[in-house]
């Protein structure tokens, strides 16, 4: 198990160091951290967030303008 963890960390470091950053990144919601409170849905100025199949908030990437308001309002810091 420890070996697998080390491989994962090494892979992450490689991806981080070896790849150029995309000029316009995107926001996503960590379903493990989301508590389905809906605060992000209310703050989004682009009407880009709704609840998905498991009741967790999901960002519609075709509508999101990456303003970042949802990040500051999320009580569980689930948006990244």
């Amino acid at each position: 198990m420890k070996r697998r963890l080390v491989y994962m960390i090494l892979l992450g470091i490689l991806l981080y160091l070896g790849c150029e950053k995309l000029s316009n990144p995107e926001y996503n919601i960590d379903a493990n951290a989301c508590n389905s409170c809906g605060e992000c849905i209310q703050i989004c100025p682009m009407d880009a967030i709704e609840f998905g199949p498991d009741g967790k908030a999901v960002i519609d990437q075709t509508k999101c303008n990456q303003c970042g308001k949802c990040i500051t309002i999320c009580p569980k810091d689930a948006i990244h």
Binding site: E20, G38, F51, D77
Partner: protein
């Protein structure tokens, strides 16, 4: 509608409310009065684009109420239901929300047996137009004011031996009004609809108890004939999920998506998602987890891999006093997310004081975005009924600070 049907519709709620006990109902309710203050002293532009009228947020305190209610029960052997309602009302210019008066209602019907799960849901969000701001929604030419949102969703999960299937569909309807400028610069209000279909399907195959592979497909269709906002992405992935023992668990997932959409960067056509979550317990008191999520894409034109975002989250919690109502604990964590300036450090303490009174205090600091601290004092009258006083102060980097004091009660019955 026939008179017989009307009688049935009238009688059904009466039967329901007079036979509560037959449905094994459980209710959860939380009501809070909120007082909001901010140090803003001038007009604030919360929304991008045109705003019909600028508004001023002043330092005078504003009042609001937030009422959440949930009822759940059994209809039949394998059929359960949940009715949820959230009502938020406050003075205009209260808090940083797009609407200051809205009601969220959700009705969910579940069917479960050993190998199948079905959820049918209808959700409705109603806004009071007088307290709702105008937005610039992609694909809609004018500034729009949301009136009502309907979501009708169906979710099915089935287990057939080593195969699992998951199907989801959601028809979303937004009823909105928009303004057009008429003669003499007068605004004219028009009504319109925006319809989207979101659908998702996944078929997975369990290779062993801990390994599974899956194929999936996501499809979004903007029914207002705007192809540029359609989106589809078939995916294929591999998942490892192993609870080694009571103290250690590891879950990892690698997925490749082939994205097809016009409104998003072409570089993201070949998209890779890597997730890992390691959970560790040290005895009964100390536990924690490490989560890592990487999103990357491969650009065919440049033959190059790009980094979209990395998120590393480390979280630890120490519970040190068990009590009838809830545990006392200390937790601390760090979130590292450089691409979206989402680095964060946070901590929280919950301590039993005396006579069923708890004090919870927390703080978090995101250097690029905000810093916040909160304190909550809660008195449990019984294990299922409490009253509480909460204060939360947030200092944003790019907008005025805000403070919210809430006096509330939580009831389960």
């Amino acid at each position: 509608m026939g008179s017989r049907m009307k009688k049935i519709i009238l009688i059904l709620p009466v039967i329901f409310f007079t036979h509560f006990h037959l449905f094994g109902l459980t209710q959860w309710m939380q009501v809070s009065l909120r007082n909001f203050t901010t140090n803003a002293e001038h007009d604030i532009d919360i929304i991008t684009g045109d705003i019909p009228q600028a508004e001023t947020i002043d330092t005078a305190s504003k009042a609001g109420i937030y009422w959440q209610h949930e009822i759940s029960g059994n209809l039949y052997k394998n059929i359960t239901f949940t009715v949820e309602n959230d009502l938020f009302v406050s003075d205009l210019s209260h808090e940083f929300k797009n609407s200051y008066f809205f009601n969220d209602a959700r009705f969910k019907l579940y069917y479960r047996n050993e190998s199948q799960y079905l959820k049918i849901q209808y959700a409705n969000r109603t806004y009071n137009p007088a307290a709702t701001k105008f937005l610039n929604i992609p694909g809609v030419e004018h500034s729009t004011q949301q009136q009502m949102v309907h979501n009708t969703a169906l979710h099915y999960k089935g287990n057939h031996g080593r195969f699992n299937i998951s199907l989801y569909g959601n028809l979303r309807n937004l009823d909105y009004e928009y303004l057009t400028i008429e003669e003499n610069d007068l605004y004219e209000s028009e009504s319109a609809w925006d319809n989207d279909i979101y659908s998702y399907a996944e078929l997975s195959y369990k290779i062993t108890d801990i390994w599974k592979t899956f194929i999936s497909g996501y499809y979004k269709n903007d029914l207002n004939s705007l192809d540029e906002f359609d989106d589809s992405n078939p995916g294929i992935g591999l998942e490892f999920d192993n609870r080694f023992d009571f103290f250690n668990a590891l879950k990892t997932k690698v997925v490749y998506y082939n994205n097809n959409f016009d409104s998003i960067n072409d570089k993201k056509d070949h998209y890779f998602l890597t997730e890992a979550r390691y959970t560790k317990r040290f005895g009964n008191s100390l536990s924690g987890f490490v989560t890592y999520i990487n999103r990357s894409c491969y650009d065919e034109d440049q033959s190059q891999i790009f980094r979209i975002s990395n998120m590393l989250r480390v979280h630890a919690k120490y519970s040190y006093l068990m009590h009838n109502m809830k545990d006392s604990f200390i937790l601390a964590g760090v979130k590292y997310n450089p691409e979206n300036e989402g680095n964060l450090i946070f901590g929280e303490v919950s301590q039993y004081l005396f006579k069923d009174i708890y004090l919870t205090a927390g703080a978090k600091y995101a250097g690029d975005l905000f810093g916040t601290c909160s304190a909550k004092c809660e008195y449990f009258m019984t294990p299922l009924r409490s009253i509480w006083l909460n204060n939360k102060f947030t200092d944003f980097n790019n907008k005025p600070a805000q403070n919210i004091i809430s006096l509330g009660t939580t009831l389960i019955f």
